[in-house]
């Protein structure tokens, strides 16, 4: 198993304590391509952030690639984020005063790889995303789809074991969304990366091989979707 959650609980202690994850049990295998669906506020992002070690959980166990993720120091957590996990965000989260290629280089910088090698690899990945000509452009000079492809290149460049995407198509139109999903699908196949996509668009979920429904902080139905016919709107279509 790549990911194993055992009775994971998470409460936000704000003005009023909010029990968001109420005992999550979940297993995701190596190389799987799954989506997490659920209503707004059901705890999808919270779950994904815990999986990405961006946030911590209160009780339960989280096993990542056979190792228990609990009480890590910030340094160890940083190492996991750099080596094992790749992130794709709805709002892209590119650094806007860095060019596309510099953004893609950044994870390698934190891995201590030299400038030339970093640049070389980043250009390679931008090329894979069809963005060679945009390498020297700043994020605000690019379209949403292009930005998300830069972000995907940045997530892939460290050869992570899992990629976590929180509504990667949330800010994109349906055509671009489809392109991005095709890209993720290809990456999942070619690079054998475990891919977890949070979405509330059934069309997007339909592109994945397994759909996990979360409701009020617990895992509901888990659908196998190898045939990609979960979407009521038909194969290969994304309805917005």
């Amino acid at each position: 198993m790549m990911i194993e959650l055992k009775d994971v609980n998470k409460t936000y202690f704000g003005a009023q304590p909010l029990h968001v994850l109420k005992g999550i049990n979940l297993e995701i295998g190596k190389g799987e391509f799954v989506s997490i669906m659920g209503a707004s506020g059901s705890g999808k992002s919270t779950l994904l952030n815990i999986l990405g070690i961006l946030d911590n959980y209160d009780t339960g166990e989280y096993w990542l690639d056979g190792r228990l993720i609990k009480g890590l120091s910030e340094r160890e957590a940083a190492r996991y984020r750099n080596h094992t996990i790749g992130f794709i965000f709805q709002s892209f989260n590119l650094i806007n005063f860095k060019t596309a290629v510099e953004n893609v280089e950044l994870p390698l910088f934190y891995r201590g790889i030299g400038r030339r090698e970093r640049h070389h690899q980043a250009m390679e990945y931008l090329d894979k995303m069809g963005l060679t000509d945009w390498a020297e452009h700043f994020p605000n000079e690019m379209s949403g789809g292009q930005k998300q492809r830069v972000a995907i290149a940045r997530a892939l460049i460290t050869h992570p074991r899992i990629i976590l995407a929180d509504e990667p198509t949330g800010a994109l139109d349906s055509k671009t969304s489809l392109e991005v999903m095709e890209l993720l699908k290809r990456v999942n196949k070619e690079e054998d990366v475990t891919m977890i996509v949070v979405t509330h668009e059934s069309g997007v979920a339909n592109e994945t091989n397994k759909i996990i429904h979360i409701k009020d902080g617990i895992i509901g139905k888990v659908e196998d979707n190898v045939d990609h016919n979960a979407s009521p709107f038909g194969e290969n279509s994304i309805m917005k």
């Binding site: 952030n49 990405g52 961006l54 946030d55 910030e74 340094r75 940083a78 190492r79 984020r81 750099n82 080596h83 992130f87 965000f89 989260n93 590119l94 650094i95 005063f97 860095k98 950044l106 994870p107 910088f109 934190y110 891995r111 400038r115 940045r154 460290t158």
Partner: protein, 420 residues
């Protein structure tokens, strides 16, 4: 390191206005520090220069007047120094006193060819120059041999030389000539820089010669050099004892301390040192506080910067940035700002010190008895420059540290959720 530098240049360019404002605060702080230290150094160098002889331990004793009636002597009686006081001084304090000079003074008429003038004649021995030096322009001073041989030689000021051999003539040609003082001829052995004091032109002759010529003259002062009295206390004690012995010898009240007036170079020196230390400390304090306000400025700006960049730090953390790498980023940025603008301030400060040195540093204040520099060598030393560099880097680290720690502590998810 080069990578970090690139990162920082990138972010600094992002905020040109803020960077330059912060930079100005730091540059100004350093400029003030250097300029103050330079100016203070100039003042102190001038002070030292004006008291050039303070390294030598000498006392000069003058007569005074009684401050109390005693044994039939009225209060307010003028006291005199006598030949035997000089002898007593030489005999009785051998353990501390090295050499004694009895100084005599009177006015007389000096003439050369058809020029003549009333002048002040000092009968002195070389010890006098230890305490009250003269700047030789040409020739030499009175020496020990002159004293022993009762030579009729005379050491005159450039004012007198210029009077005897006026403008078109070379006034220094007076050396080797004979001038007349009273009814006797003296050979001019040297010319010194005169004190420009309007009263009387001064000339030195050997004390022994003086005694021969002006027999029975009143002694002007006793000057002696001494050793072994290193503290203010020891000096005070010695002076007290000296006065007491004098009073006993002359039949004045033993505890009357107005009968003699003693100028003591060590005590003057200690006082000068005290004043200098106070000035120095004040300057450092003012300078450092000015610099500190610059540093607080940087720290503040770094805090704001960190807050603004918190989302970016979140992204970096998600990509694998360790807390230490974030701290490094902020601190190095802080150091770069302080060091870069600090250097600009330092260079401006050094230039202004040079300007001070070449303008008011060259001015000489004439206060009659002495020529004084108000300013001398107001340049800062390499030591101060290195010290300032160290202070700058430390300041940069300090200014960056707290904001950096704050940045590193934020949980990545909180940073990411922070609005851009």
């Amino acid at each position: 390191m080069f990578d970090i530098f690139n990162e920082i240049i990138g972010t600094l360019k992002q905020n040109k206005l803020r960077t330059s404002l912060t930079g100005f605060a730091v540059a100004w702080g350093v400029f003030m520090l250097i300029a103050l230290l330079g100016a203070g150094g100039g003042l102190m160098n001038a002070l030292v220069n004006n008291n050039r002889n303070i390294d030598v331990n000498t006392m000069q004793v003058y007569g005074g007047s009684t401050s109390k009636a005693y044994n039939g002597i009225n209060e307010g009686t003028w006291t005199e120094l006598k030949e035997f006081d000089a002898e007593r001084t030489e005999e009785n304090y051998k353990d501390v006193i090295d050499a004694v000079s009895a100084d005599y003074w009177r006015s007389d008429t000096a003439s050369f060819r058809d020029m003549s003038s009333n002048v002040g004649i000092n009968g002195i021995s070389p010890v006098h120059y230890v305490a009250r030096d003269r700047d030789i322009i040409a020739g030499r001073k009175i020496n020990e041999l002159d004293i022993r041989l009762h030579r009729k030689v005379i050491f005159i000021g450039d004012d007198a030389a210029a009077m005897f051999l006026p403008a078109p003539l070379d006034s220094l040609a007076i050396i080797g000539q004979y001038i007349k003082v009273g009814h006797l001829a003296y050979k001019v052995i040297g010319v010194f820089q005169s004190n420009m004091d309007a009263d009387l032109m001064q000339m030195d002759i050997p004390s022994t010669t003086f005694s021969d010529v002006y027999y029975g003259s009143e002694m002007y002062s006793i000057i002696f050099s001494y050793h072994g009295l290193n503290t203010e206390k020891a000096n005070e004690a010695f002076m007290k004892q000296y006065k007491k012995d004098y009073n006993n010898a002359h039949g004045y009240a033993p505890d009357d301390d107005r009968t003699l007036w003693i100028s003591n170079s060590v005590i003057d020196n200690l006082q000068v040192n005290k004043v200098m230390n106070i000035i120095k400390t004040m300057l450092w304090i003012i300078g450092l506080f000015t610099l500190l306000s610059g540093v607080v400025g940087v720290s503040n700006i770094m805090l704001i910067t960190v807050r603004e960049r918190i989302h970016e730090f979140g992204i970096r953390k998600a990509l694998g940035a360790t807390p230490w790498s974030i701290i490094k980023l902020v601190i190095v940025e802080s150091i770069v700002i302080t060091a870069f603008f600090g250097y600009i301030g330092m260079i401006c400060g050094i230039i202004s010190c040079q300007i001070m040195d070449s303008t008011i540093g060259q001015q000489v204040l004439d206060i009659g008895v002495q020529r004084m520099y108000i300013f001398k060598d107001s340049t800062v030393s390499v030591g101060v420059a290195i010290g300032a560099t160290v202070v700058l880097i430390v300041a940069g680290v300090l200014a960056g540290f707290f904001p950096a720690r704050k940045a590193a502590k934020v949980k990545p998810i909180e940073a990411l959720n922070e609005l851009k």
